[in-house]
Point group: C2
Chain length 271, copies 2
C-alpha cells in the first residue's frame, strides 16, 4: 500500500486505528476452542467486526509462533483474510546480518504479503536495509518503545543525543517517509511532540494505548500531522474487550469508540 493510499484510507474512514491481533490462544473465548483453527476463527470474527473502524491490522508473530506449525498457518491465513483496503503489519521485530535480514524480508513480503514489518535497529544499517529494498513495502523501525525497559538503552545518552534519537536520525537516511515509519510508544506521549517536530513527514506506529496505559488524546494532539501521520495500535482493549460469545460485538463497540475519538482529533486539525 502506498503512502497516498494509506492517507486516503485514514481520511475517508476518519480513523488511524490499528487493531493488534495479539491473539493469545489462552485468552480466546472458550466456545471457539472447538473450531478447527481457533486462532484464525477468532481473528476472522475480530476482523469482520472491526474493519469498518480501523485502517490497519498488526499481527504480533510471537502469539502464533507459540503454537508451532499450526500457529504459523493461522498467521498466514489471517494475513490473507485481511481486506486489501487495510494496511497489514507483521510485528516481528526482526533484524540480523544482511543475508539473514533478506530472508526475513522474503518471509514477510514475498511468502506472506504484509505491507510492513517492524525491525529492531540494534545491529545497524545492514540489518535494516534489506527490508527497505522491497518496492511498495514499508519498514517500521523501533525508535522509542512503550515498555519500561526502554529506559535501559533507548534513553541512554549516546553520541549527540539519546540512543533512540540516533536511531531515528540514522534510519531517516536509510529510507524515506514513503517506505519508513517509526515505532514511538504511547506511554512516552510527552515526547511525541518533540519527535514530531524533528520528523514532520514520517508516520509513527504508536503502541501502548489501552492495556499499557498510553493516552490517545496526548499522542494525537502532539503527534498528528497534516496527513494524520499516526497509526495508533490497540490490542487487548479491543480484541479481549469481552471473553464470551459477545467478544466480537464488544470488539466492534471498542473499535468504534476509538474511531469516534480519533475522528474528533482529526477534525481539530481540519483533516
Amino acid at each position: 500500500m502506498t503512502r497516498a493510499e494509506l492517507i486516503d484510507q485514514i481520511l475517508s474512514k476518519q480513523s488511524y486505528l490499528c487493531v493488534g491481533l495479539d491473539s493469545d490462544l489462552e485468552k480466546i473465548p472458550s466456545h471457539l476452542m472447538s473450531a478447527e483453527d481457533p486462532q484464525f476463527e477468532f481473528n476472522k470474527q475480530i476482523i469482520d467486526a472491526t474493519k469498518a473502524y480501523c485502517v490497519s491490522y498488526k499481527i504480533n508473530t510471537a502469539f502464533y509462533e507459540a503454537n508451532g506449525v499450526k500457529g504459523w498457518a493461522s498467521l498466514m491465513k489471517t494475513v490473507d483474510y485481511i481486506p486489501d483496503t487495510h494496511f497489514t503489519i507483521a510485528d516481528a521485530k526482526r533484524g540480523d546480518i544482511g543475508n539473514t535480514s533478506s530472508q526475513y524480508a522474503k518471509a514477510f513480503f514475498e511468502v506472506m504479503d504484509f505491507d510492513a514489518v517492524t525491525v529492531a535497529p540494534y545491529m545497524g544499517a545492514d540489518s535494516v536495509k534489506p527490508f527497505l529494498e522491497y518496492p511498495g513495502k514499508w519498514t517500521i523501525v523501533l525508535g522509542l518503545t512503550s515498555n519500561a525497559g526502554s529506559a535501559d538503552f533507548e534513553m541512554l545518552p549516546a553520541g549527540a543525543g539519546l540512543l533512540y534519537e540516533q536511531v531515528l536520525e540514522k534510519a531517516a537516511t536509510w529510507g524515506r517517509p514513503d517506505n519508513l515509519m517509526y515505532v514511538i510508544g504511547a506511554t512516552r506521549h510527552e515526547m511525541i511532540g518533540k519527535i514530531r517536530s524533528a520528523y514532520p513527514e514520517h508516520f509513527f506506529l504508536v503502541p501502548g494505548v489501552g492495556a499499557q496505559g498510553g493516552s490517545l488524546s496526548g499522542i494525537s494532539r502532539s503527534g498528528l500531522n497534516k496527513d494524520a501521520g499516526l497509526l495508533v495500535n490497540v490490542s487487548r482493549a479491543i480484541i479481549f474487550a469481552a471473553d464470551k460469545e459477545d467478544f466480537a460485538a464488544a470488539a466492534e463497540t471498542a473499535a468504534k469508540q476509538y474511531q469516534q475519538e480519533m475522528a474528533a482529533y482529526l477534525r481539530e486539525i481540519g483533516a
Copy 2:
C-alpha cells in the same frame, strides 16, 4: 543442558564448534530438491556428518520462515533430530515487551525444545528477562555483532562506555554465567580479549568465522577461558563446503578441520 554438561562436551570432544544450519533452500544441492522435505533432508545429512566434531547446532530461524509453514515444520523436525548431546541454539534474535517476549520464550523453550535462544537487547530488561525465567535454558544476548552495521549503534559512546558495553554490563545483572551468554562477533576479535577480561566466566557465542572473515586463531587465543567459554559458529564454510552429492562429506571434512584447530588451541591453555 547445564553449564557443566556443556563444558564436559567441549572437553571430551576437544571442540567448541557450533555448526550454523543457515540452510537456504536456494543453496541446497539440487539432487535433494526432490525429497519430501529438502531442507530437513539436508540438515539431517549435515548433522550426521558433523556431529562427531561439534558440540552445538545453531538454527537460524530466518532461513525457515522464508519457506512459510513448510519451513517452520522443517525447523521443528531439525531441532528434534539433533542429538541430546548437542547444545541447540535458536538464532532468532527476538525481543519485545514482556508479555510478548514470554510468548517467544514459550515458542522456543516449550513448543520446541531448544537449549538457548538469541535475544536482541534494544528494548531493555523486560524484553530479555522472560527468556531467563526458564530453568535449564539459556539466553544469548546480542553484544557486539560481526556485521559492518555494528558500528552504527553498538559502538556508539553511550553512558560510561560504548553501547555494547552497557548491554553486556546490564545483562550481566539480569542473568548468570550459567544461563546467560553473549554474542561477540569474530570480526571484532581484536576486542574479544578486553571483553573476556571484563567477563571471565561467561560463554561467548562467536559468529562470523569462515564466510564473514573472522579469524579462529585470533578469537580463540584471546577468548578462551579455563572452561573454554566459547562456542564458535561456522555456517556457510561448513554446510555449503560443496554443492553436489559430496556436500555432506565436504561438511564433515571442514568440521573436522575446525575441530582439530580448536583442539590445538585447547591444548595451548591446558584444557
